[in-house]
């Protein structure tokens, strides 16, 4: 049996993948080490996982990292799957060089001295004799590498080209090619059939890290595959929840302004369309709080199809007699918020918003991660200076304090509630959702329960690199709120000033759309966007199923691409063994149904209207939204565009720009031009 174990061990060694992220993990550990040394404050037992890295590496560590980069990269490219061949490094230094060890600019000498236990750098463990050689071994025995040490040391002089940065220390990094020869480790590869694919994946990963080693990216985006073309006779009913989020557009802008096209996964076409205010016909008094307007128009990217454009305009209630607002800012003050486009922008944004509130509105501020708990008791906006002062005292840093941030925010908002007032939590974060409940289901239940008590939860995302768009969406959807991404002060102006009413005052909850197409008129249809908002057909009438909210003055747009019966553009052939009963009857294209609840109500109301071919009042608003729909699909690499290009989208958008009082459309056209240039690269 011992042989069996030996066998097992060999196999396990062979199956063990190469650690692909060593440099990242080491950088993370060093950062936490520095954090710990620099700030011995708060709870140190559970340092939070952060994707931050030291901004500058110099001296000794720079050498170590460049050595490791070279080592592991080359090591992967050679066929060394065994850990025995890994991590063999060698560096030596002379006493003269010891002074270089403390050349970490981040570490202020005063702080080091304050730390009672700190030993003087360098550690006394390092003997003064020069040159001192320290052999570093990975999984292999040091003894086995002894014979090669001399060779390695000799080769050190020539392997300097492995270093990407020069440093005062002298390093000798052994080339993995050298090691590959004495280590016959490839024999057992065949035991791990998927090792080869794993290896190529790793190589790909390494290639990325070679191109941009400094960019950790833990962003997660919520998206689904593009909606497919549906055959009307098979599946005549399309059901979805409305979506007034705009985060996807702002993420696209931030990507393009940083010089790269957005990740197709981050593009949600409906959010790009709904980013813009449109001037659809508004509901009359005594009508439903919003009004749908349907337009049929030719599809710009396909001569054989048409678009059914559904524009929903929310009413703009008189805000003068609105009930007072109770707002709780739940602010992430984790260390990763400490960059220019995060906490400072957040503070500026909230200050902008203060000017839009009324004196009797109340604001409280709760922070999580880092500094603790409630930093501002509920305060009337009339005491603006106190609120501004509390905002400006927010600072990022420290380790996770395990605050029950979200629970606290909800209990604060409940304590502020009086009859008729609207309570809302605005969660602002860069993607660290360590809000106190870590179990996603418990978090969802918690938010859903609080949603039923009438408190809304909106999420504002800041900064890039750690952005957890998926969780943002999930939280805001469950909390009856909106998710928006704030990348610039002007975006803060749009979300928190110009469209504050929509962001803060819901006029209709759980708005669902269901469209039934008439198979005698429409052969095929496709909903553009709303992939993440699809609902089951039976959920439409189920008031227990949550859906999206419409705020005061919001506009929501949904666009279907439809293929009339008999068009050349029909994608699916008729079936040979199915009888097609040609039912003569209605000339309607379809039937639109909307369900919504008035705020506070538990039962929904129904709005319905037929879709007919004579609805063809094509306004600039409609055309511009179609241009954006096309642009979004280009970014998603949609296959339904028949070669429709950025140029076409730009021309279409320019022709329908309209008044554009706030300049949002002009900005969009600028971004489309940039995207086109980036795409050409």
């Amino acid at each position: 049996m011992t042989d069996d174990l030996k066998h097992l061990k060999d196999m396990m060694t062979a199956a063990t993948p190469k650690p692909a992220q060593k440099a990242d993990d080491l950088a993370l550990a060093m950062k936490n080490f520095d954090d710990l040394q620099n700030s011995r404050q708060g709870s140190v037992d559970e340092p939070r996982l952060t994707s931050d890295r030291p901004t500058n590496r110099s001296g000794f560590t720079a050498g170590v990292f460049s050595m490791l980069n070279s080592l592991t990269t080359r090591g992967t490219l050679t066929v060394t799957t065994s850990i025995a061949a890994l991590g063999i490094g060698l560096f030596f230094y002379t006493q003269n060089d010891l002074s270089g060890f403390s050349s970490n600019p981040d570490q202020s000498p005063e702080i080091v001295k304050d730390t009672a236990l700190t030993l003087p750098n360098p550690a006394p463990a390092k003997p003064p004799a020069a040159p001192t050689v320290v052999a570093q071994s990975g999984a292999s025995n040091t003894a086995s590498s002894n014979p090669t040490l001399g060779k390695i040391a000799e080769s050190g002089a020539t392997s300097g080209d492995l270093m990407r940065e020069t440093s005062t220390e002298v390093f000798a990094a052994e080339s993995p090619m050298l090691m590959a020869e004495p280590a016959p480790v490839t024999a057992s590869r065949k035991m791990a059939p998927q090792a080869a694919t794993g290896l190529s994946r790793e190589i790909a990963a390494y290639d990325d890290s070679m191109i941009a080693p400094e960019v950790p990216n833990t962003e997660a985006f919520a998206n689904e595959d593009s909606n497919p073309v549906k055959i009307t006779s098979d599946d005549p009913v399309s059901t979805f929840s409305i979506d007034v989020d705009t985060a996807s557009y702002a993420i696209m802008r931030s990507s393009i302004l940083n010089g790269y096209l957005p990740d197709p996964q981050s593009v949600r076409v409906e959010e790009m369309i709904n980013y813009f205010p449109y001037d659809y016909p508004a509901p009359m008094a005594n009508e439903a709080p919003f009004k749908p307007t349907i337009t049929i128009m030719p599809t710009p990217w396909n001569a054989g199809t048409q678009l059914v454009h559904i524009g929903i305009q929310g009413e703009m209630p008189a805000l003068d007699d609105r009930p007072p607002l109770n707002l709780v800012f739940l602010i992430d003050t984790s260390g990763s918020m400490n960059s220019r486009d995060k906490l400072p922008l957040l503070i500026q944004s909230f200050n902008l918003m203060l000017s839009q509130l009324r004196p009797e509105d109340e604001i409280a501020i709760v922070t999580y991660a880092g500094s603790a708990g409630m930093v501002l008791e509920p305060t009337k906006v009339s005491d603006k200076s106190r609120i501004s002062a509390a905002l400006s005292h927010l600072s990022a840093g420290g380790s996770t304090a395990g605050q029950q941030g979200l629970q606290q925010a909800y209990s604060v908002v409940e304590s502020m509630a009086k009859d008729g007032e609207i309570g809302r939590i605005i969660l602002a974060t860069d993607g660290d959702f360590n809000v106190g409940i870590s179990n996603p289901d418990a978090l969802k239940d918690f938010i859903a329960k609080k949603r039923d008590t009438g408190t809304y939860l909106s999420v504002l995302g800041f900064g890039r690199g750690n952005l957890d768009d998926a969780t943002m969406q999930a939280l805001a959807q469950n909390g009856n709120g909106q998710a928006a991404y704030i990348d610039t002060l002007s975006e803060a102006q749009k979300v928190l000033v110009d469209q504050l009413g929509g962001a803060l005052f819901p006029i209709a909850n759980d708005v669902k759309i269901q469209v039934e197409f008439n198979p005698t008129q429409i052969a095929e249809y496709r909903l553009i966007g709303y992939e993440t908002r699809a609902l089951a057909r039976e959920d439409f009438n189920n008031d227990a199923v949550d859906a999206g909210e419409i705020g005061a003055g919001h506009t929501v747009t949904a666009i279907y691409e439809i293929t009339p019966v008999g068009s050349d553009a029909v994608l699916n052939d008729a079936l040979r063994y199915q009888t097609t009963d040609a039912i003569e009857g209605s000339k309607e294209l379809g039937f639109l149904k909307l369900r919504y609840k008035t705020p506070g109500a538990d039962t929904s109301q129904l709005l319905s209207t037929p879709i007919t071919a004579d609805m063809n009042n094509i306004t600039d608003d409609v055309k511009f939204s179609v241009a954006i729909a096309g642009y979004g699909q280009i970014l998603r690499d949609s296959k339904y565009l028949n070669g429709w290009s950025f140029d076409d989208a730009i021309a279409f958008a320019v022709a329908s720009k309209g008044d554009d009082a706030f300049g949002y459309r002009a900005e969009a056209i600028k971004l489309m031009r940039l995207a086109k240039s980036l795409d050409a690269n």
């Binding site: 992220q21 080491l26 550990a29 052999a135 999984a139 040091t142």
Partner: protein, 181 residues
């Protein structure tokens, strides 16, 4: 002239705030740590996650290293405990995520695909009860004696030997099962 600084010396210097010692120590321990994490978790992504978490927490944890046990023993104990936490969270998480938003379902589906790709070796390890699996993961380490594995897991040398006998018994049973099926 060559000289090897022991892990323990480096660990103590690192606990006292010496940056280079910490960097050096972690760099040379990393691959062994990763290998152990892989054996404990069974999949590459899980091993990466676990290793990252351990690296992130290590500076703070190192404050508690008292130098009484070997550093590797101590580090493996940290790893085994972290693996336990992770498996426990995973179990809670898997139970809890029914019906969580679409994005979550997709993510879990992606994870399951990875799970499907497990080769029989890790599947075999997965059939072992957790304590046997930890024992096996540790003893497959180079030069790890039953006594050291016992130190890591906080049980006696005899217990480890008994567990290894159990492991062998189970693996033999599994092997026979495969032969007959």
């Amino acid at each position: 002239m060559r000289m090897e600084v022991t892990d323990e010396t480096l660990a103590k210097a690192a606990a006292n705030g010496d940056r280079e010692s910490f960097s050096f120590l972690l760099t040379r321990s990393y691959d062994r740590l990763f290998g152990l994490c892989f054996r404990l978790m069974g999949t590459h992504p899980d091993a990466q996650d676990l290793t990252q978490e351990i690296c992130a927490a290590l500076p703070a944890k190192l404050q508690k290293y008292d130098g009484k046990s070997r550093f590797s023993t101590w580090l493996y104990r940290v790893a085994v405990n972290a693996a336990h936490d992770k498996r426990r969270k995973r179990a809670t998480y898997a139970r809890a995520t029914d019906g969580w938003g679409d994005w979550e379902i997709n993510r879990i589906a992606a994870n399951e695909e990875t799970q499907d790709g497990l080769d029989w070796l890790t599947q075999a390890m997965n059939t072992l009860p957790p304590e046997l699996r930890d024992t096996l993961a540790l003893t497959l380490e180079d030069e790890m004696t039953h006594k050291q594995a016992g130190d890591v897991l906080g049980v006696s040398e005899g217990t480890i030997s008994w567990r290894m006998a159990e492991v062998k018994k189970k693996l033999r049973a599994l092997h026979e099962q495969e032969q007959t099926s």
